[in-house]
């Protein structure tokens, strides 16, 4: 008892306990300091600013061959705090959450004069074109519906999913601007029901639940392949090889019932490509279900030509004659001479075909090169599937046994002979 007492007095007199306390806190601080994730620096050559995202995200795959992380890094596209090793702070200023290609932030993430918001003349204005495209504005569906229910006097579009202006109008059907479609200002119950049930398929829409319709928003809606996948799985991939299944996350999903204003999904269970490709409503020519959508439909058709249009009919212009010509004329072509030719750039980015100077490619009536095609020495043509890489050869109509009427060039006329029984 006496011994304990004097130990206590002695301890009080020597500040031993505070000293032990101090030592323990210093050791604790040192241990805590070493528990942080090891800092892994990346110095992207395009920014020359070190970033530390790899400290936690080292096992993310390269997003695409055209966006190597050694050049781009992560922050150039995603935003975020490049120096933070703490997740909350690091992710706070990220653009678009997990998807920087969402249309609300695409201009900042994907933009840049050498990237995707550059000059139209150099075909570098993808973001501007997508923002005005019908797939983004949904202007056609909205205009049609409002006209049908008497909310507007004609089919010229006045509203889109978001408000947008376009000062440079290049085509006869281009519009100067669209307002934002505001269901709360609509009085007609039909239009209100439309807003409730039918706005699931534009580039800013969250997809319907289910694996067949799983798709991201913005640029990733097409360029990140998600069809048939679980959207909660992290996906870090951009591609130009877009198969028809990705388009079918929105297209060919069913029909609108305009009387009840809801969507009736297709109910067939297709077993092969012929039956899976399109809805069971019509007959199609062989190339229409053998090739992928992007093998025919051009960049202007899908991503827009830079003008606001009232309807997809104003922008969709590819025809059978684009590749096959007519009885009187061979299809339009162009021989590549310019080393910066768009066809050469595209075939470099998606090397299903090795184009070179002097090759002759098909072109559309608006001058877009069908860069996955080439005229062969014997006068026939070859085409490579952009997603599959498969090679096809074909002949022009001119000089063949085709019995077409040269004045009737819409696809339904070609279907009359060439469509396949399903």
């Amino acid at each position: 008892m006496v011994g304990l007492n004097s130990i206590a007095t002695g301890l009080r007199r020597t500040a031993l306990i505070p000293a032990v306390f101090l030592l323990l806190t210093i050791i604790l601080a040192g241990w805590h300091n070493n528990r942080r994730p090891r800092a892994i620096a990346l110095l992207p050559s395009l920014t020359n600013q070190p970033e530390y995202c790899l400290s936690c995200h080292q096992d993310l795959p390269e997003i695409s061959r055209s966006h190597p992380f050694q050049a781009f890094g992560c922050v150039l596209c995603h935003g975020g705090e490049r120096l933070s090793l703490e997740a909350d702070l690091a992710h706070r200023s990220m653009r678009g959450g997990r998807n920087p290609s969402d249309l609300t932030v695409a201009q900042d993430s994907c933009g840049g004069s050498n990237c995707h918001t550059g000059e139209a003349a150099q075909e570098r204005n993808h973001v501007q074109r997508v923002l005005t495209s019908v797939q983004a504005t949904y202007a056609g569906a909205i205009a049609n519906l409002r006209y049908s229910f008497g909310a507007q006097p004609d089919l010229t579009a006045r509203m889109g999913i978001f408000a947008i202006r376009d000062e440079h109008i290049q085509t006869p059907t281009g519009l100067p601007g669209l307002e934002a479609f505001a269901p709360e200002n609509e009085t007609n119950p039909g239009i209100q029901a439309f807003a409730q049930n039918c706005l699931n398929c534009h580039l800013s829409a969250e997809p319907l639940p289910g694996e067949e319709t799983s798709r991201l928003t913005g640029c990733a809606a097409c360029h990140s392949l998600t069809a048939g996948d679980d959207l909660d799985q992290p996906l870090h991939s951009l591609t130009l090889k877009i198969p028809y299944t990705q388009c079918n996350t929105c297209h060919n999903r069913g029909n609108y019932d305009l009387r009840n204003m809801h969507f009736v999904p297709r109910s067939d269970k297709p077993q092969d490509r012929l039956h899976d490709y399109y809805q069971p409503i019509a007959q199609f020519v062989r190339c229409e279900w053998t090739l992928d959508c992007i093998d025919c439909h051009t960049r202007y058709e899908i991503m827009g030509d830079g003008d606001l249009h009232s309807n997809q009919r104003e922008i969709r212009y590819i025809q059978c004659r684009t590749c096959h010509g007519t009885l009187d004329e061979l299809p339009l072509t162009r021989t590549i001479t310019d080393p910066e030719d768009l066809a050469l750039r595209m075939s470099f980015l998606n090397p299903v075909i090795d184009l070179g100077g002097g090759d002759t490619v098909l072109v559309s009536s608006r001058g877009e090169p069908l860069w996955n095609t080439r005229r062969l020495a014997d006068g026939s043509y070859e085409l490579f599937g952009k997603a599959s890489g498969q090679r096809f050869t074909f002949r022009a109509v001119k000089g063949s046994a085709c019995q077409q009427n040269t004045a009737e060039q819409e696809s339904r006329y070609c279907h009359e002979c060439h469509a396949v029984e399903r």
Partner: protein
């Protein structure tokens, strides 16, 4: 003797006695221990302080430069690579990259008809960077060049 003085002397006594293998007073021992803890804390803190002060954030410019196809540099040409402060000398036997940073004290050397001269203190080098004379004690540094799989020359600045 005041409390402090008696504690000091008992500490001294304690350490002497401990050194001699004898016992020591309780107060002296505890006092010694306290001082020890504080000094130990101080040493650990000093270690942390030094790590803090010598932190190096790493390079903020690229250390490898792609110079393009090696066919752009045919033998007999001398090409200045400004971003690396270097000169690329292409000869029959291969390509040589000389750093234009004077090995003496770091000024950039200038080219002359028969080699290189440093304007700061007068060091002289021959056309392949070999030391002729001058306060510099070594020849001009040769930088590493590799050829990558596409046939491009890659210069390492480090």
């Amino acid at each position: 003797m005041s409390a402090t003085q008696s504690r000091d002397s008992s500490e001294k006594q304690a350490s002497i006695q401990v050194a001699r293998g004898q016992g020591t007073t309780r107060r002296g021992f505890l006092s010694l221990m306290t001082k020890g803890m504080v000094y130990l804390s101080g040493l650990l803190g000093l270690r942390g302080l030094i790590s803090f002060l010598v932190y190096d954030s790493g390079p903020t410019t690229q250390t490898r430069i792609n110079l393009g196809a090696s066919s752009n540099y045919p033998p007999g040409t001398r090409t200045l690579v400004a971003e690396a402060n270097a000169i690329l000398i292409s000869q029959e036997g291969g390509v040589l990259a000389l750093s234009l940073i004077c090995p003496h004290l770091g000024c950039l050397v200038g080219e002359t008809p028969d080699g290189f001269t440093c304007p700061c203190h007068g060091s002289r080098f021959d056309r392949s960077g070999g030391l002729i004379r001058g306060p510099a004690r070594q020849s001009m540094v040769r930088l590493e060049i590799e050829v990558d799989r596409d046939g491009n020359l890659i210069l390492s600045m480090a």
